[in-house]
């Protein structure tokens, strides 16, 4: 199973490093990253595998949200099922 992590906010040094480190800490394996910066606005979408995750998925969601708040970013972590349900028949 996978989850989608989206990160948005003002661009500063080290955003990818911090988010990746948190994923590693919780054993969420990053399988895809798409990232861009537009007029100092940072936007990233990561797809991570959550089968081997170290904690309950909802706690991982909380941890990522908190990481965003600590760094002035907005981080959403959502189970892939929601995208598959909405966009695939």
């Amino acid at each position: 199973m996978k989850a989608v992590v989206t990160v948005t906010g003002r661009d500063v040094v080290g955003i990818i490093a911090k988010v990746s480190a948190a994923c590693a800490e919780y054993k969420a394996n990053i399988v895809d990253i798409s990232q861009s910066v537009l007029s100092e606005y940072f936007a990233m979408i990561m797809v991570v595998e959550i089968d081997q995750i170290a904690v309950e998925f909802t706690r991982f969601v909380d941890a990522m949200t908190a990481l965003g708040e600590q760094n002035g970013l907005v981080i959403h972590t959502m189970h892939e099922d929601v995208f598959n349900a909405m966009h695939h028949i």
Binding site: V4, T58, H79, D81, V82, F83, A85, H87
Partner: protein, 452 residues
């Protein structure tokens, strides 16, 4: 395979367009709680509700976090109390209502529905006792919702019940006069009432339902309004297709949440209700969808056609997205819960007569409409009879939830707070239908009810 555009679209719907799951409602049968001992009945219903729905709120919150979609309400509906508690006295029904309220507090839910009766063909003793208890029950509880089905296409209209509901609404308004007559916001008069509706105040758990069931109501007027806005000038076929595609996506979200809630709560999945349910929040209005189609204001001539197109397209899009569709499934047009409707009434564009016409093509009826506090009971009965006739003749659900706001006059504002919103008091036709209402008896079922 996850597509980046799809991911961004979903997140934008949730973050920018108010997409949410409006309610997960657990239906619970109270038929096995029947007892002629009032204490025992109250104990049994409290125990069953709090046991069955013990994890409803926590599971709802877990799903909310897992999928990143807000689930605004977690609620419970129960077997109509007039059936489960058929042996109770009026005082007993008031106690039972307070027990439901206490159970709702224990569970942490915001409404519990089912303090009602089905009287479309006549009254049982239990029905009469429950109806007598409604005003006091609604004034002495905060979370209990009541609905009374007074007609059906098969049975015709029980005009004795219509007459009685006029008095009950007036008395409820008086007993809750210190709070803008809010008791009436929790009381709905129905025809052809669905037995699996997850939305309040009309939700109850029908007698043909299993012991427990999970029904989900989706929302998303903001998403539909944005899709229409983005489409710009297009013809009606294209417009209908855009609404269908959007409704499909919204409903798939509801189906996913319903399936997951059903699995985690070990309770069968019932239905997804496709209704577009507005809230007073900016960008969450059904009126604004209609205005987005090209009407200067909701209520303009053309509004009924626009609503008919919307309602039909939402159903066509939604029906393939869910394995079981039910409940009310149509666009809601509650005045106080929809900023666009409130504005349209305030500026004089939307009148009660136009609202009545609109209910012929959408799902509910005259919903959350504040009327002058000195409205005579028989005028309220006339409003109910008209609205119920539309439902009976068209083989559809219609309902009336009007609030004769105590001490208020046309143009005054009443405020109910939260999702119930606020509303300007609407002017009524003051001619009296008293002699018509006083006839009593039943209006026979229409000829097209004989389908066998």
């Amino acid at each position: 395979m996850l597509n980046m555009n799809d991911i961004l679209e979903t997140i934008h719907m949730i973050e920018g367009e108010n997409l949410d799951i409006r309610t997960i409602t657990m239906g619970i049968s109270l038929l096995d709680c029947a007892s002629e001992d009032e204490d025992r009945f109250c104990d049994k219903i409290y125990d069953k509700i709090t046991r069955r729905a013990e994890h409803l709120v926590s599971v709802g919150e877990e799903i909310e976090k897992m999928y990143g979609i807000p689930i605004v309400n977690k609620r419970v509906s129960v077997t109509p109390l007039a059936i489960a508690g058929g042996a109770l006295s009026p005082d007993g029904f008031v106690r039972a209502a307070k027990t439901l309220d206490r159970a709702a507090d224990t569970l942490g839910i915001n409404f519990i529905g089912g303090f009602g009766a089905l009287v479309h063909k006549g009254f049982t003793i239990g029905d009469r006792n429950l109806l007598a208890a409604i005003p006091q029950a609604l004034s002495e509880t905060g979370k209990v919702c009541s609905s009374v089905n007074v007609a059906s296409t098969k049975a015709g209209i029980n005009m004795d019940a219509v007459k009685q509901m006029g008095d009950i609404i007036k008395e409820t308004a008086y007993l809750t006069r210190d709070n803008d007559s809010i008791g009436c916001a929790k009381l709905v008069v129905f025809t052809n009432v669905p037995e699996d509706n997850p939305f309040m105040a009309g939700a109850f758990h029908g007698v043909g339902e299993p012991d427990g069931v999970i029904n989900v109501g989706v929302s998303g007027p903001g998403v539909v309004a944005s899709a229409i806005r983005r489409a710009g000038d297009c013809d009606f076929s294209t417009l209908a297709d855009i609404i269908k595609k959007t409704a499909f996506k919204i409903t798939r979200m509801g189906q996913l949440v319903a399936y997951e809630a059903s699995r985690r709560l070990d309770t069968p999945f019932g239905i997804v209700d496709l209704s577009l349910a507005p809230t007073p929040a900016i960008g969450d209005s059904v009126a604004h969808i209609l205005e987005g189609m090209g009407l200067e204001r909701c209520g303009a001539h053309g509004t009924t056609a626009a609503l008919a197109l919307l309602n039909d397209a939402v159903k066509k899009g939604g029906v393939m997205a869910s394995s079981h569709v039910g409940g009310l499934s149509g666009a809601f047009i509650p005045v106080s819960e929809d900023q666009g409707m409130i504005d349209a009434v305030s500026c004089g564009s939307l009148t009660l007569d136009k609202l009545e016409a609109m209910t012929a093509v959408c799902s509910v009826g005259l919903d959350m409409i504040a009327i002058p506090g000195d409205t005579p009971a028989e005028v309220i009965c006339g409003i109910i009879a008209d609205e119920i006739s539309i439902g009976v003749a068209n083989t559809k659900t219609t309902a009336v939830r009007v609030i004769p706001a105590w001490g208020k006059k046309p143009g005054d504002m009443v405020s109910f707070g939260g999702l119930l919103g606020y509303a300007p008091v609407m002017k009524l036709n003051e001619m009296s239908p008293a002699a018509f209402i006083a006839r009593g008896g039943r209006i026979p079922a229409p000829i097209h009810s004989l389908k066998n």
